[in-house]
């Protein structure tokens, strides 16, 4: 089948303003959008820039806005988006070149919520590992799946308005640690995510849940964090 890709282009060294370029090429309906982008870069226009790494939906490098929705190019098949495909960078972050955005504000917000395991208690008697029940592990299973692709955060209207909002991805990671019964910094993290640019800025638009390529119920996770504010319960 013949597919037409309309791709957002911006080269800060040459362009005053962004523009779109259109490429038409043959593709299988089972090709991924990333395959088609690779073919354009390899065969038609070597100046096209985009991020990719593992190409298997694990690294989260190739989050793009495809036909107006945030997706991973490596997990999106041509047949799922049709013959006319518009590819743009994810919104709310500064475009560096073409489809590459500056992820720094995203990771700055991520770092704020202390995204690492904190436990100052002495190690168990065997000196090896802090055991956890299967039920306790299941409590935050969904939010361990985040690959930090930023599909959720850059689909959030509150983040578009102001990148000081922590954003869904940071809150998902906060959820992952706050509900981990081995972690001891839940109170500290609750304090951080309750700031002006935290939990209360989530207006439950649900864009994040729809955008997540890992199908994490993000809005639900944020709702559970809000309920911690009310009930204090971490189970």
């Amino acid at each position: 089948m013949e597919v037409t890709l309309k791709i957002f282009r911006y080269n800060p060294e040459v362009d005053q303003k962004f523009h779109y370029e259109t490429y038409t090429l043959e593709a299988e309906e089972t090709d991924r959008v990333l395959d088609v982008l690779e073919r354009i870069k390899g065969q038609k226009d070597g100046t096209l820039s985009f991020r990719r790494s593992c190409a298997h939906g694990v690294c989260g490098s190739d989050a793009l806005r495809i036909n107006g929705r945030n997706m991973l190019a490596c997990k999106t098949l041509v047949r799922d988006v049709g013959e006319k495909i518009t590819v743009e960078p994810i919104l709310g972050l500064k475009v560096i070149k073409d489809l590459i955005v500056d992820m720094e504000p995203f990771f700055d917000n991520y770092k704020k919520i202390l995204p690492y395991f904190i436990n100052e208690s002495p190690l168990p008697a065997d000196g090896k590992e802090r055991l956890q029940s299967a039920e306790a592990r299941a409590r935050f299973d969904e939010t361990t799946k985040c690959i930090l692709c930023a599909c959720c955060t850059t689909s959030c209207p509150s983040f578009w308005a102001s990148d000081d909002y922590l954003g869904p991805a940071a809150l998902v990671t906060a959820h992952r640690f706050i509900f981990d019964d081995r972690d001891e910094a839940a109170a500290e993290r609750m304090q951080i995510i309750s700031e002006t640019s935290g939990l209360a800025r989530c207006h439950t638009a649900y864009n994040c849940t729809l955008a997540c390529p890992r199908e994490i119920p993000i809005t639900q996770a944020i709702g559970e964090l809000k309920m911690v504010s009310v009930t204090g319960k971490l189970d």
């Binding site: 055991l131 956890q132 029940s133 039920e135 306790a136 209207p157 509150s158 308005a161 102001s162 000081d164 019964d181 839940a186 109170a187 609750m190 304090q191 951080i192 995510i193 309750s194 700031e195 002006t196 935290g198 939990l199 209360a200 800025r201 207006h203 809000k226 911690v228 504010s229 009310v230 009930t231 204090g232 319960k233 971490l234 189970d235």
Partner: protein, 143 residues
């Protein structure tokens, strides 16, 4: 392996102004539903089914003020302008104004990101909220 129950004490849940207002917005929405239902049930008990149209009953439900039944077939206005209904209307006014103004602040916060801008916005919102509440209460009780 036993899982111990974990609960954060009240002082460690991050319950700052933002989160308290988030809770208030949810509870005030429920309170408004309850007050409107109370108004509608009260009107039906007072015989509104035979004396008012459905639209008039809803108008009363959303703001149980006796002026809202003046143009209906209600023959005697006295039971409709009692202390209880004035109080219900006042509660709806206060809760609704606070709920609505805070909602506007939350939306405006998406566009005003400087601390000074947000301070000005909050000041103007509080002034607006207090003014509407005072004028509304005056209309309900004094006119």
């Amino acid at each position: 392996m036993a899982t111990k129950s974990r609960t954060l004490p009240l002082s460690k849940r991050g319950l700052n102004f933002e989160m308290l207002m988030w809770i208030f917005t949810r509870l005030s929405a429920l309170a408004m539903y309850a007050l409107i239902l109370f108004g509608v049930i009260g009107a039906l008990i007072m015989g509104a089914r035979n004396q008012m149209s459905f639209a008039d009953i809803l108008r009363w439900g959303f703001m149980p003020n006796s002026t809202h039944v003046q143009s209906t077939n209600v023959p005697d206005l006295a039971p409709w302008s009692s202390f209880l209904w004035n109080l219900t209307a006042t509660l709806l006014l206060l809760v609704g104004t606070a709920h609505g103004v805070h909602g506007l602040v939350v939306i405006a916060d998406d566009y005003v990101t400087s601390p000074r801008g947000r301070l000005v916005l909050r000041f103007l919102s509080i002034v607006t909220m207090i003014s509407i509440s005072i004028i509304g209460a005056y209309v309900l009780w004094a006119l």
